[in-house]
Amino acid sequence: MMQTISGLISTNRRFIPLAATAVLAFVAYGVGAIFYPGLREPQVFLNLFRTNPFLLISAIGMTFVILTGGIDLSVSGVVALTTVASAALLREGWNGWTVILLMLAMGMTLGAIMGGFITYLKVQPFIVTLAGMWFTRGMCFFISDDAIAIDNRLYRILGQTKILIPGLADPVTQQGDYISILVVIEIVVVVVAVYLAHATRFGRTIYAIGGNEQSARLMGLPVNMTKMMVYTLNGFCSALAGITLSTYVMSGHGLYAQGFELTVIAAVVIGGTSLAGGSGYVLGTLFGVLITAITQTLIQFNGQLSSWWTTIVIGALTLMFIGVQSLLAARKGGRRPAKEAGASALAIRRKRRLLLWGGSGTLIVIILAAFAINSTQITARSSDVGTPQVASRSCEIKPFRREQAAELMTEGAVITYERNGGPNCIDELYAIYQDGRIVGNDGTNEIEANVSQDDLDRLFVGINENGWFTDEMYNTWHTPCGQCYGYYLTVAYDGQEKTVRGVDGGTDAPADYWQVISLVKGVVPKFGAP
């Protein structure tokens, strides 16, 4: 029995990373479902796919690039450029379909240019695609400094149509579990990618290049053409990912997708693809993306952990999978087979390494899981996890309650301060009056406090000293962000009035702005537990 199992394992050795990822995905989801009943809802599972189409599509393109032994850092720039360019064109009234086709063509062109540098000028992919990222991101801001909203019927349909799942939804009331058109696109992309990778010469040549590029050339394979096509294909995927992002957030901005390329690469690595090239599966990437999404969901459901635990967990997982990869790689190579007697000693050495890696990796994951679970208030959370907002980091920032703030100012407030967003979707508006009274309203509750005249004066001095009324303060809008809190501060003093808004995660507002925010935060009372 053991013989056949170990026999099975050794003949299918190369599937181990793929199996490991799949198992991890199932286990993570399963364990999560035990602690958070919400995960048992089918919609939550479907949301894993519904809310990450850009990650999956881009990761699949990246898989092909990494399989050839290359890398593409420009994906985040291309995605952002796609959102901005399409938003700008749509605003000018261009037809939705035309824009989509144009964006795909643009992505392919950018990919081809970089591919040309890499293939024919023989520059390292790292550097070329890095330049590409800077360039594309920069081009975003040639088009527009600010976010551009998208108001196009086609895009709205693409992004918001609910495709109800037969059997799980009621077509009459339009209630129930659904996916979106983007999910359908995702599925198509995955299927096509798997076909390309395993049933076409193009795909097998990609693997060959990753295995040994020089040999592939000597074997007469069209190495240069294939490399060009791989980068072009990735450009296509990046543009497609950008299009899905545009339909999802219905806007375009050059600041979108910061750090996106890292998440994509991590997903590919976790999916079992080796960064050295030549080994890995498209399905593995699918599971890698799933794990990323599951991690985000779990952390969001937990509610107690900050969203940046996601990055730490993903980092740890990447480490573990790299360990698995390097372990398997150690087995390869060697020009001579070991003699019978010698084989056992070599096997012992390998087993030791396997233990070391598997052990430490599992240890890390267990520690993190324990930490996460321990800081959970399980009973408190499980009741209201029925319908999470989105399986992303935090709530969307609501628009500034401008009219309300203006009203408060006419009623005698000298400072209004609004803070909204964050993982718990708060929206708190404070007004500080001339006489030191502070009133806060978060939509359901009202809260009051008082600050002495001296402290109020000192507050104004501090605000003034930090250059509040100079030209250096300016408006910013900045996503994505850390916990996504938006801050709006209006100050009336000494005959002047100024409103500044900012979002955490941005350094576009100078340090002094944050000084002022912290001064004000220091005096206003707090609403319940954070």
């Binding site: 070329v128 690469i265 940046w308 790299i322 390097s326 850390g482 340090a511």
Partner: protein
């Protein structure tokens, strides 16, 4: 005695490591001279020197610091993508040590009121700096162990800290952007002793690195390991220790850079400090002529490379290019540099300058 002859042939000059970076810098300065009036003006105020040139040096000091450490890492044939994240970690550690109230530490009431006081710090400055640098160095050790002992590819190994590092930095500050009010700390990035203080830091770190690599055998060992680590191993060089040293030093440099950056904006901003700076640092080293595959390196050339990048940025600002459009320009600069250094172009230039026939493929 076959001592090196001190002949100043054209060849000698062009093949020196500093040649191309200086040419690039000269180009940019020439551009400034033509298009930006008053770019080269220097003035003294209160005994300190100011001017656009000084701005370049000062704003480029973070990248210069990173480039020094990164040069050693790249020379061993590796790369460190995590330096930006390490900067963020360093900034967070420093900020928390000066202002721990943010993370919930209760201070006795008589100290509480000093919290926003520019003369108050919870821990003495020397402690803050020491602990921060130790933490940053440990990050470097982490990377070094992964690369040298666990034999993980450098790009992959440092990618991990790059991803997780910002999360760790956020964790240290509990997600809050901590304001730093303590004045002496701000001196690190904003102070002036005739020249900006950060420049002295750069010079100091450069001096240490130079002594370490050129006055001991370590420079030779690093180059040897980068060119061919197997041959180095056979020659008795402990390439594992050398690589560990390179990554550790790089972590230390990132820590110092983090201090400078956070003192500049008087905040610890875990999300944004050092963002994309690792890429700038790598570019600086590449401009400085160190190959990404490892081998010969020149610390001075890397610093000139950092100045090239900063000069580009400053010049663009000076002629009014909006902040983010700058990225596109940087992209183009990279492409220009790549072409300049690519084998094809170099061969072409060599063929132009020499009369001999080139080898057939």
């Amino acid at each position: 005695m076959t001592q090196r002859k001190a002949s100043f042939t054209w060849r000698k000059i062009t093949e020196n490591a500093l040649f191309f970076p200086f040419v690039a810098l000269a180009f940019i300065l020439l551009f400034d001279f033509i298009y930006v009036p008053g770019f080269f003006r220097l003035e003294t105020r209160d005994g300190n020197l100011y001017g656009s040139l000084i701005d370049i040096l000062r704003n480029g000091s973070t990248v210069s610091l990173l480039a020094i450490g990164m040069t050693l890492v790249i020379a061993t044939g590796g790369v460190d993508l995590s330096v930006g994240a390490v900067m963020a970690i360093a900034a967070s550690v420093a900020a928390v040590m000066m202002n721990p109230v943010i993370i919930g530490l209760e201070l006795p009431p008589d100290l509480m009121k000093f919290i926003n006081d520019p003369h108050f710090t919870y821990a003495p400055l020397w402690q803050v700096i020491l602990v921060t640098l130790i933490v940053a160095t440990l990050c470097g050790v982490w990377n070094g162990v992964l690369v040298a002992y666990a034999r993980i590819q450098p790009m992959v190994a440092t990618l991990i800290l790059m991803i997780a590092g910002r999360g760790i930095a956020q964790l240290i500050t509990n997600g809050v952007r901590i304001q730093i009010f303590y004045e002496p700390y701000a001196f690190i990035g904003q102070g002036w002793i005739f020249l900006p203080f950060s420049l002295y830091l750069v010079a100091f770190v450069f001096a240490i690195a130079w002594i370490l690599t050129r006055k001991t055998a370590i420079g030779l060992f690093i180059e040897s390991v980068g060119i061919n680590f197997r041959s180095s191993f056979y020659s008795g060089i402990d390439e594992k220790k050398i690589k560990l040293l390179a990554y550790t030093f790089c972590g230390l440099c990132a820590g110092i850079a983090g201090l400078v950056a956070s003192s500049n904006i008087k905040t610890s901003d875990a999300n944004n400090i050092g963002l994309t700076l690792e890429l700038d640092a790598i570019l600086a080293v590449v401009i400085g002529g160190t190959l990404m595959t490892g081998g010969r390196f020149s610390l001075l050339a890397s610093i000139v490379g950092a100045w090239v990048i900063q000069a580009t940025t400053t010049s663009m600002y000076a002629i009014g290019v909006p902040a983010f459009a700058l990225q596109a320009i940087k992209g183009l600069v990279v492409i220009f540099v790549i072409l300049l250094y690519s084998e094809q172009v170099r061969d072409f230039l060599r063929r132009l300058t020499s009369q001999k026939e080139a080898l057939s493929s």
